[in-house]
């Protein structure tokens, strides 16, 4: 079984799950929501096995490494992370709307993988700089952080829709605001963890933990924006529209850190 084929199937499952979640919200059917959740669970199980399969396959090719090392693999892991974060967050914030958001985001990312055409999905050998034990922890913490920020981006858009466009079927604005804050605070901690693992790695690879490389600088910019968000929220009591805008700006910075730096600016992380 080919792992990229599995990923194509997962793409459709997530799209379908987002649709079923939406149906459950529109028609207020809890039982339909359960079906959507089952779909998401099936999707993430399949995606996890695709990732593991790819891992095993890379060892069969004699270039064994964790499948977290090129653009394709990072996109697949990004979409996996979003679903993973959703499944954790729904323990406390149970609302099918978050199911729509996360499965739709996960679908979008995977759809980009298959449709853009310039995402190379072959298993490539690892260049020496990437052969490090820090790779796995660095990538996992960074992408879980990105996933939290993606969901916070979604909830802050929903918040603006609720407040500005007065979409009544959306949940309570205060609730959305709280979820945005929670996702950002957890994402912030994970991003800091991503910094630490990256710094430790850079120190071993290049003898410096920080070098103002564009990718490093842009992740610092992201960190500063979310840091400002948290300070404004905790100490100055900023809420609502203002904070939603900060969450959206923060996520734009995340996207630029992830993609823009590779496409627009040159740097050490350009292989990803």
């Amino acid at each position: 079984m080919n792992d990229t084929l599995l990923i194509s199937i997962v793409t459709f499952i997530y799209f379908f799950a987002a649709f079923v979640f939406l149906v459950s919200i529109i028609f207020h059917k809890r039982s339909v929501g359960k079906w959507a959740l089952t779909l998401v669970a099936a999707g993430v199980a399949l995606q996890t096995s695709a990732i593991i399969l790819r891992w095993i396959h890379s060892y069969q090719l004699g270039i064994g490494h964790a499948p977290l090392s090129n653009f394709y693999e990072s996109l697949v892991f990004f979409s996996w992370s979003i679903i993973f974060v959703y499944l954790i967050m729904r323990k406390r914030y149970r609302n099918d709307l978050f199911g729509v958001l996360s499965s739709f985001f996960a679908f979008l990312i995977l759809a980009y993988v298959s449709l853009s055409g310039d995402v190379n999905c072959t298993i490539q050998p690892l260049i020496p700089a990437l052969q490090s034990n820090w790779l796995i922890s660095h990538v996992i913490s960074s992408f879980l952080a990105y996933a939290c920020f993606a969901i916070a981006f979604g909830t802050s858009i929903l918040y603006l829709l609720k407040i500005k466009v007065k979409v009544t079927m959306l949940p309570d604005a205060l609730f959305l605001d709280e979820v945005t804050y929670k996702m950002i605070s957890i994402g912030f901690v994970l991003l800091t963890l991503g910094f630490m693992t990256g710094a430790a790695w850079a120190d071993r690879a290049w003898g410096r933990y920080w070098g103002w490389d564009p990718k490093e600088t842009w992740s610092l910019i992201t960190w500063l924006i979310y840091g400002a968000f948290l300070h404004a929220h905790l100490a100055r009591g900023w809420r609502g529209v203002k904070m939603s805008l900060v969450a959206i700006i923060g996520f734009i910075a995340v996207i630029f850190t992830y993609l823009g730096v590779n496409y627009v600016l040159a740097g050490l992380h350009s292989y990803l």
């Binding site: 270039i63 071993r204 003898g207 500063l224």
Partner: protein, 446 residues
Amino acid sequence: MITFMIKKLQTVFSSIRLTIFLFLSLAATSVLGTVIQQGLPMERYKAFYSPGVFSALKFFNVFDMYHSWWFTTLLVLLAVNIIVCTFKQIPRLVRLISPAKKEIDDTVFRSSQIRKTFQSQQKLSDLERQSELLIKSLVGVPVKTVRNGATYFSAEQGRYSRLGMIFVHISILLILIGGLLGILLGFNGQMNIVEGEKSGTVTLFGGTGPKELGFDVRCDNFTVEFYETGMPKEYKTDLTILENEKEVASGVMKVNHPFLYKGLKFCQATYGIAGGSGFLIGVRNGKTGEETVLRPNLMKKVPLPDGSAFFAIARFVNDLEGMGPAVLGVLLEPGEKHDIFWVFQNGRNSNQQQRGGFTFTLKDFNRLYYTGIQVSKDPGVFLVWIGFCLIIVGFILNLFFSHKRIWVRIAGEQGPYECSIAASASKNRKPFEEKLEQLFREITLE
């Protein structure tokens, strides 16, 4: 006047508004340094910008902006901001984390986040038992005190989680100080050493010139392995350190596995080909199809198989216009003009060089590598690691622990009794309050 100024400064530096301003200014200005490439030679910028723009950018040190006076000022202001805020927090923190006083202050029943007062007709002993049960299931083992005819129960849990935030802030401070130490006392540069040679000079990054290490580094051996695709798989250098020509240390340096000596870190950064030797040149006779192998050294002529001419190598090039390694061959035929042509590796070039009835190919050669070493010294790095460890401790305290407190007062000589409950939680207040409500209902209705 001076005290007024100090007060004023204190207010400015203890404000979160300043923190937010600094965070956003650092973020906004950092963008600049990713758009304008940093640390290039000045001539490159001069050629790119008009003279006016160039001198303006140069004045603000935009070409090395992360080390400029104004960026450093922002960082120093942030550090001062953190210090002042931390000191301001200390009295409150001391109060929060010092063990609760024996005497319960009655104001908690008026000022706590969660408050509840009701009258009860039940027996005092029943109320006491219920209170103890409630507190035990919500927070922890209660302490009982009796004062002015009222009975008090109280419990507290997770007091030290209050330290989380201060740990995070102190660690940011440590990281900033560590970074400053690194800039002031450390350096970072590159040295390229050809196999078998030694060097004691590092070319510093940022164009600040060469730096003498005070000892020599010798590259004893360099090896590189390739994947089938031709991509490098692993490369490493065997190094020896020489102090006054005496070998004092040696070891292996690989990518991601630096070599350490005297607080300096030697990282395998790059490699390249410095030259070639031991060339094997294949010469095929066009008429007979017979192939012979010549072993000419650089600038030394060797006779061709039929003795009609001589062949010599004038020059070696690691990569000739993307066509791979090549040697500049010279064919010397008596009575003819010298014929000079490039000889490539087999398959690299379709029109193999045919001269004087012979076809020439570069069969093999020994590559002479140079190893690219990134040398760095950073006396502040340990502060950065301590900061990182502390930040984790701070986040764990802050994320996974909550400071929960609860007080119960049962007042009145005899029934009906006035019962008051007060409680607070530093985090996740809503679930805490819901659990209190649920326990309260279960216990009072039992």
